[in-house]
Subunit: 433 residues, 2 copies
Amino acid sequence: MAPRSWLDIAADSHFSLANIPFGIITTPHSSSPHVGVAIGKYALDLSMFAAHSGFADCPAITSHLDVFSQPTLNDFAALGRAVHRDVRQYLQDFFVEGSKSRPAEAFAKPYDRRGLFPLKDVKTHLPFHIGDYTDFFVGKHHAQNAGALIRGIDNALNPNYMHLPVGYHGRASSVVVSGTSIRRPHGQIMEDLTAKVPKPIFTPSKRLDFELELGAFVCKANKMGEPVSIKEADENIFGLVLMNDWSARDIQGWEMVPLGPFNSKNFGTSVSAWVVLVDALEPFRVSGIENEHEALAYLREGKKENVYDLKLEVELTTKSGTSTTITRTNGKNLLFSFPQMLAHHTAGGCPMQVGDLLGSGTVSGTEPDTMSGSMLELSANGKNKIKLHGGDERTYLEDYDTVTLKGWAGGEEAGLVGFGDCTGMIEPAITIQ
Amino acid sequence: MAPRSWLDIAADSHFSLANIPFGIITTPHSSSPHVGVAIGKYALDLSMFAAHSGFADCPAITSHLDVFSQPTLNDFAALGRAVHRDVRQYLQDFFVEGSKSRPAEAFAKPYDRRGLFPLKDVKTHLPFHIGDYTDFFVGKHHAQNAGALIRGIDNALNPNYMHLPVGYHGRASSVVVSGTSIRRPHGQIMEDLTAKVPKPIFTPSKRLDFELELGAFVCKANKMGEPVSIKEADENIFGLVLMNDWSARDIQGWEMVPLGPFNSKNFGTSVSAWVVLVDALEPFRVSGIENEHEALAYLREGKKENVYDLKLEVELTTKSGTSTTITRTNGKNLLFSFPQMLAHHTAGGCPMQVGDLLGSGTVSGTEPDTMSGSMLELSANGKNKIKLHGGDERTYLEDYDTVTLKGWAGGEEAGLVGFGDCTGMIEPAITIQ
């Protein structure tokens, strides 16, 4: 039986005592963004908690309390994994039933006196200042599905695919926090890609898609010219989020050869507001997708359990408010781990900065009905209708559709370790004069 | 006859009175980076100039003098093109022979009393904080040359090439200022790309190349979801630099399908230290490469002269100190202009921030001997030897080679408008344990 909290935490809460995810919040008491953690139905305002000597018995952080007043998690993350571990453990001890470190009555109602705010009263913000954002493509089942739709089943995967974590540089400025609306992009589109004489048009995307991904934030910088070895890489990762790499398939199809996706992706990427520390995910390590090719030494991690058993779901809610879970999959469906992605990314000396974001690429599974992390796959590139509750159908996203990614590890007995929602609604395209 | 300065400016100086480029400097008097301009053999320290009431008669800037004490040009750039124009004009008036605005004897020797420092005593720094860096591919002759080497002459250009400025997101964290050494990257490489069973190895790049490009810095932000129209785009560009997009061709060949170049580029990108305002380049507008396809409305600029007549050269200096000019070309060899690149980049709503960097892609020409902005082209992908003075030869770069890009507009009569050098030396690869 897992330890219980003196706070009333529902069994299905993503923010159990086993989690303690970090985020950036504003509260009814403070309109300047600063650090908080989510616990049950509440956010604990760590800036206020620190100001009331909440961390008096946590030596790891006492000389760095200013990090909790910053508008991003960058400074806290930069303190390193050992500090994150201590702070998380300290907060778990604080919230556990019978905790000695809980000041008597400190958290009696009204909660906000010492920094506990109901989540519904708290606004969340982008958790990090992101210097650079990189999106990988290591969800092999997605690569296989998408490749088969584009190049046929025999050429689905490119020759390099099994040998390196394929990735590309994304657009950092358009990464937004869950809850931010996404405007349907205009773009240059060729409706018939096989036409002999291309006649592209400029029009709003008609094949707007989501991509269900995991994201990881970097907590340690490396200098230019100095790779992060695979041995060190795990310690350079702060935590994970859910990520929706919104994609305009029609823009993508025309633009992406030979330099990769560009405007088809850079109109918006959503991340969940609460960053789950990799320490909190440690109990959920599992093996990823089997790779028949032995990895080259710079990618050889030395442990098989290098990804996480995370239940993932995508819910589509129409304008009328009807919600349908349109896919279910698992975060273990990755060919390479985040430490491997980081070691590969820096292998030539590319400098990472604290707050850099790595995306996994779309996570799809293998079982029918539960295999698809995108509508490209669910609709077989527009050929099949996706049935929604209430009789609606979709091939791609319509205006005012809301996509909500959900993800969690663990069970109700020991407490869920979840991300909360990563959500975004499609706004209609602007009118071009 | 062009106006002369009371400062002694050599006829072949890139920093004539007609130029006034902006950069970030530290000087013998101040080790904290701040703003300066280059003029002849000197840098004028604008922070010091401002502190000595140098801008007393320049109303456009008097309430923003703090921008000159910043460690990047971002704040100055954000003031907008009208302010840049006024400040440049004011400094030109200040330096012109017989200037009334020159305080008597203010700049008598020793010059540094009021902020004039010999360039040899000044250290230059990266001019902008770069939020995102994007590299385009609009040097059509390079695209044609490189495409022919890879896919054969009939398929050199992809179907989209003439219709949109093809581009990809680059790595902002590895953009460095001229003078910074570049370490030869390790990477995953497939020596025989046609092998049936791929056996990639991890090794230092053997085909390390430069790419001669122009870069442009953005001076105006747009909100996510709100494109920059082609009409506005010109006002959103601050100025230009030379850019060397160092490239590891062997890493690139294996990694880039289907998502584009990644580790083959992200180990380093060099930019020249002095940013030439687009106002200074205005007299040198010329037509770019003819495009038989009419641009779609969102790319239609309404003027033919949308690129600049810039002489460009690449010099290779070996470890022994022998220098050879290995290519000469012209900056007008572009299919799309920077305003067109910006309009395309934001067409789907991608937000730009002040300081974002756009690269043109490699600029190659059409005449034999003067057509190649990279060694890939000069050596026909390693097949031909490039002859250097002193009997040396190259196909790709060797350790301790220094590549220097040079670029300028105008003639000695009216004064050169140049970038100075954009230089970098190749350091040997690190030893992997």
